[in-house]
């Protein structure tokens, strides 16, 4: 019995070690008081101070955040439309093409997409005089990629959604647009949020498209990091990496706290509902969504 548990346990520990060791080492080295990144010289916070005053890093971060906000919002808007068209309209002119185009960025290397977009922008710029390389071109490039991921997330939610609620709304006289705004959107809202977050993090982390499409004086943070990382080890990258690790830890802690709270609330309401009418509470998500919305 015991012998059979040794191999699984060792294997899992080794894989987790593989996954986490670089991250732990990165965080520890971000406090290293030594010019040589890998030679330990005691603890310090001086690299954190250096990063705060690193103009290139700060302006890269600001541009990255701007691009990510614009990309995530546009991708969710366009991704919702594309997902809705693909899932709900059985046949229309160009459906195959839309489906094909939505799937291209999922399989195409970003180097290829980036090169194609750069050639495109250079051609357009020669003909029309705009756009200049910078925020706009990076934003378009990221959105081209992020729409696909947003559409995939929203598509799968739309497919599994219970359509009878929409039909009920329609029977009660709601127009298609009203049904969409009042029934469909609230039902898929969770998928919209995860699509937004996915697009946001994809954009924040993207380096290849940004490197091709950024102009002089307007580079995103990943491009700054990448150009330094190519040159070798650098304490500032360790610090930037360590900060992202802290942010992820905080985000995970907050979201699991919120989830636990919602779970408790849901359990309480379910118990109340049971007591009130002696019947099981409405189990599908729409009902529960309404309940929790009122509970707040």
């Amino acid at each position: 019995m015991k012998k059979s548990a040794v191999l699984p346990l060792t294997w899992m520990i080794l894989v987790y070690l593989f996954l986490y060791l670089p991250i732990v080492v990165l965080v520890v080295y971000s406090f290293n008081d030594s010019r040589m990144v890998t030679i330990w010289g005691g603890w310090t916070l001086k690299w954190y101070g250096a990063v705060v005053h690193d103009q290139e890093v700060i302006s890269g971060l600001i541009l990255s955040l701007k691009v990510a906000l614009a990309t995530a919002t546009t991708s969710v808007l366009l991704g919702t439309l594309a997902a809705f068209a693909l899932v709900r309209y059985r046949r229309f002119f160009g459906k195959g093409l839309l489906n094909f185009m939505i799937n291209i960025p999922l399989v195409m290397p970003t180097v290829v997409i980036a090169l194609a977009l750069l050639m495109f922008f250079v051609t357009v710029q020669k003909a029309l005089g705009f756009p200049q390389k910078g925020f706009f071109t990076i934003f378009i490039g990221h959105t081209v990629m992020a729409i696909s991921y947003a559409a995939v997330v929203i598509q799968s939610r739309l497919k599994e959604m219970d359509r009878s609620i929409e039909e009920a709304a329609m029977d009660l006289g709601a127009r298609p647009f009203q049904v969409f705004m009042l029934v469909t959107l609230p039902t898929i809202s969770q998928a919209l949020v995860s699509a937004w977050l996915l697009a946001f993090s994809l954009s924040l982390d993207e380096v290849v498209i940004s490197a091709f499409l950024s102009g002089p004086g307007s580079t995103t943070l990943p491009v700054v990091i990448f150009s330094r990382a190519r040159l070798g080890l650098s304490p500032t990258i360790n610090v930037v990496g360590a900060i992202t690790v802290y942010l992820v830890i905080i985000a995970v802690a907050v979201s699991s706290l919120l989830m636990a709270r919602r779970e408790r609330l849901r359990a309480k309401q379910a118990a109340q509902a049971l007591r009130l009418d002696g019947e099981p509470p409405p189990s599908h998500e729409f009902g529960v969504g309404l309940l929790t919305a009122e509970g707040r």
Partner: protein
């Protein structure tokens, strides 16, 4: 507040509804045509066009001179790809490393996914979460982080020297070893997640039945578990292999200059040699190389779906 929404909808003519539908379809369609498909056509156009006399632009493909319609299509960029063995070797080497990455991810990831799927149901979400967690931090920085470990003065060399296993630091950075470490590190969750999804649904009693009927654990694994998880293996392998072929960041940060990689070749043609036609031709060939196996796979899948029906 008297709300129009509360009134029952009056009977409406058919046309406005078609407008809504046209908008829903039209907006993403036009966006993708303009910013995704058009760039690929421009890429194709540049790959076959001739540099103009000034050397800063490209001659139009079609011109009308002296009442003669002239079409200028130049295949020299593609011919160069065939003539210079560097490109063929690079394509093959990219495919080879992608294959190696896929196999390594499968060999490491399959037992791992299997053990998670066989863990107690209460701990499974936590174990999976631990796989996903690193991948919410920056991909670029996680790849860079390996430099801290693999450097000639890095942590691994320091530890090995301290323990006394080696007496001179090993050169691990910028080798095939560091490259593969980075690739497996970057892509293994794409293998683990689909594998887990199929393995967790696998009926454990089938394995027990095989064991009861006298199969050794190894035989049960090969004849029952692996065939039943085939869809997860195929999905995971594709999710790793396809992006691995065109990967640029990992080889650039962790592989040596002698490791040939098609993404890097394209980048260098464009940024160092400023040869736009050749860079475009490299990209076009890469697109074909990637779309062909997907098309074959799709056809195979629809056929097997049809035959299943």
């Amino acid at each position: 507040m008297p709300d129009r929404n509360d009134l029952p909808a009056p009977p409406r003519p058919r046309k406005p509804r078609r407008w809504g539908r046209a908008t829903v379809i039209g907006i993403p369609q036009i966006w993708l045509l303009a910013f995704l498909l058009a760039p690929f056509f421009i890429l194709l156009k540049i790959s076959v066009s001739e540099t103009d006399a000034l050397g800063i632009g490209f001659d139009p493909l079609v011109s009308y001179v002296n009442d003669v319609l002239q079409v200028h299509i130049r295949f020299s960029a593609y011919l160069a790809l065939v003539r210079d063995s560097l490109y063929i070797v690079t394509y093959l080497s990219s495919l080879w490393y992608a294959l190696l990455t896929t196999v390594l991810c499968l060999v490491i990831g399959y037992p791992f996914a299997y053990f998670i799927a066989r863990a107690r149901p209460t701990v499974r979400p936590g174990l999976l979460m631990l796989v996903m967690l690193p991948f919410w931090t920056s991909f670029l920085i996680r790849i860079y982080a390996w430099k801290n470990l693999l450097d000639i003065n890095g942590l691994i060399n320091q530890a090995l020297l301290w323990v006394g296993i080696i007496h001179h630091p090993l050169r691990m950075m910028f080798t095939e070893f560091s490259f593969m470490i980075g690739m497996v590190y970057g892509y293994i969750p794409f293998m683990i997640l689909p594998l887990y999804a199929t393995l967790v649904k696998l009926d454990h009693r089938l394995e027990e039945a095989a064991a009861d009927l006298g199969a050794t654990p190894l035989k049960t694994f090969w004849l029952v578990t692996v065939p039943l998880s085939r869809s997860g293996i195929v999905a995971g392998s594709l999710l790793v292999f396809i992006p691995a072929v065109g990967e640029y960041v990992i080889p650039e940060l962790l592989a040596g200059p002698s490791t040939l990689n098609i993404g890097r070749v394209m980048w260098n043609e464009f940024f160092l040699n400023l040869d736009w036609q050749r860079a475009s031709a490299v990209a076009i060939v890469m697109i074909v190389l990637i779309l062909l196996p997907i098309a074959v796979f799709n056809r195979y899948q629809t056929r097997s779906l049809e035959s299943a029906r």
